[in-house]
Symmetry: C2
Subunit: 360 residues, 2 copies
């Protein structure tokens, strides 16, 4: 079965792969619209399990569990990009899976993704395929230092990345990256990091949220601000890039495109996330429709909403022990506190976020 | 155990009696804050069951089920005012129940409620106790026609109400009201119906949402608009009335006070709802905090939020077959669609609502 896009009735059940905070917030958005959800996730402590009646706690390779899951839902979507290809294929043979799992093959591999973006005529940092350590030295010569060596697969929040500075030994860097196929990317002296969260509906229309400016700390998103401080021309260009990517994929749902803004105003695409994205959490309180509802509308075959922003908005992640700050934020007028129901506090773990609408 | 107000950790579990749309929206608000919920309701089709992992489907008189429920939760609250007194007492002996169930004794009985309000020096329509049909004729003489005969208990959405017009036979009216203890109320030629949704926190502070203007159709709320078209003086007086009532009750949580505004500016209290209220649904999209979150904050012992309104807001109930209009509303920019996940469409049944923020 190809990823057809059915138009769901409000009584329909949406299957969600992945039980983290993104899955949880997708469930909450679906519930507002009357949908039922069924969450499939391997971890019994999945935050999404708390907010849904039907859950399957099983491994992504458990075909019996996947089969039962598929027969219980009307459409399947996912909260994360590392859905195993076999899982997606197994499900797609039984029930519509949106966005089309074929897209995962592109976004799960940094090299394929970069080639895809470059093939659309959209600028990226200079990059080189590093299939083996032998190729790394020449690539560093070509691209120059500083650069970043990244594993092609399974990287997020800075995992699987090694900085190539002056004096970094290529062989040591290769080993540090796990001795697996990599991509070498030129280090980009960016002015700002921005992202566009965009939704494409089943009829092919695209709605972009306003360009968001992001600050990372230890490779983890710490703060998003919207609107980003860039010219209207650059903002329009950023939205256009996201729209081109969504259209080229024939995407149905929400995706995020992370970009670097250079001093000269050039925008380089850094990464595509084929899912709702942390830099879109501000939409929960700062816009007339959230990224989560927009995604649910798209995969349900419902019309996208036109997003209207309530003002300037700031989103701050509560990471690790910072979650304790929720008490303070509860007392700040106009600030919305979101906690993800995670009991174990670990360094670098996203425990919640707060959103503040600052007025016009 | 008296209704002490513990300060909950975000990992705590909130027990909710009642599984309708109000319970459902309370669960969704609690989930945003990281809380787990356990919903207790007798109807297996309860809309709240879809959005929560732990449910008990049992009768309110099932003490075994209530006992298990009480031992699984850190605090109990309710979505409706007709919680049986025995149920509330049984639970309150085992776990904090908020708001204090003693308040239900007042609000479950129109006569006791009216006497309570009048005892606070707050105006109401003229009313008389009608314990038996023999008292009705004299009371009609005294109060005048038109008037309304209402059962003292279990009335909502116009149920249990009989209009006493010119020519209405008192005995027939008594029979139509079910031949049970009633209250006779003078008909009030009101200019507007308004309500105040107010929260009182465990520390005793009260936060009122802006006064809402309500239009009913066939005794069921159809439209709410905020701010209500009344003078700042009248609005302040309406909020003051709600605050006096909340304070007198020592209330913890959200309550709603429905009032009639007379042509001369006088405000008469019509009804108190000791729970979140349909006329506060606009707060989900039209304010920086919703009535549901405010209630959860209060029963969790967390500080109340200062509600900031996003603009003029309109809320329209989707009743019975009107639910089909959701398709049209999905395309109206700035309009949020809420569906309650009810499968059976019945005349007069509240199926969902839409909220529109209209700007300043």
């Amino acid at each position: 079965m190809t990823a057809v896009s059915p138009v769901l009735d409000p009584e329909a059940t949406i299957g969600i792969l992945g039980g983290g905070q993104l899955g949880r917030m997708l469930v909450l958005a679906a519930a507002r619209l009357g949908f039922k959800c069924h969450v499939f996730a391997p971890n019994p402590d999945s935050p999404a399990f708390d907010v849904v009646h039907r859950v399957t706690c099983a491994d992504y390779t458990d075909t019996e569990a996947l089969d039962r899951f598929a027969s219980d839902v009307d459409v399947v979507t996912y909260e994360f990009e590392n859905v195993p290809a076999e899982t997606a294929a197994f499900l797609a043979a039984r029930v519509p899976v949106l966005p089309d799992p074929a897209i995962l093959a592109t976004t799960q591999d940094r090299l394929v993704e970069k080639n895809f973006v470059a093939g659309l005529g959209i600028p990226t940092a200079a990059f080189a395929d590093i299939p083996s350590p032998g190729k790394l030295k020449a690539a560093i010569e070509h691209i120059g230092r500083p650069a970043v060596l990244k594993t092609r697969r399974f990287g997020y929040d800075g995992k699987g990345q090694v900085a190539i500075k002056n004096g970094t030994d290529p062989d040591a860097a290769w080993r540090e990256a796990g001795g697996q196929p990599c991509i070498l990317e030129a280090f980009v002296p960016f002015e700002r990091e921005v992202s566009v969260v965009a939704a494409r509906g089943h009829a092919g229309g695209v709605e972009c949220f306003d360009v968001t400016e992001n600050e990372h700390r230890d490779h983890i998103l710490k703060t998003s601000r919207v609107p980003a401080a860039l010219s209207e021309r650059d903002a329009a260009q950023a939205r256009r890039i996201a729209e081109i990517i969504a259209q080229k994929f024939g995407y149905v749902g929400v995706l995020a495109v992370e970009m670097f803004l250079l001093r000269e105003g050039e925008l380089l695409v850094n990464e595509i996330a084929p899912r709702v994205h942390n830099s879109g959490h501000w939409t929960l309180d700062g816009a007339s429709v959230s990224q989560f509802e927009q995604h649910i509308r798209a995969v349900a075959g419902w019309p996208l909403a036109k997003p209207l922003r309530h003002g300037r908005v700031e989103m701050i992640n509560l990471i690790g022990r910072e979650v304790e700050d929720y008490r303070r934020y509860l007392n700040v007028p106009g600030t919305a506190v979101h906690l993800y129901g995670k009991t174990a506090v670990r360094p670098g773990r996203k425990m919640g976020h707060v959103t503040r609408v600052i007025g016009e």
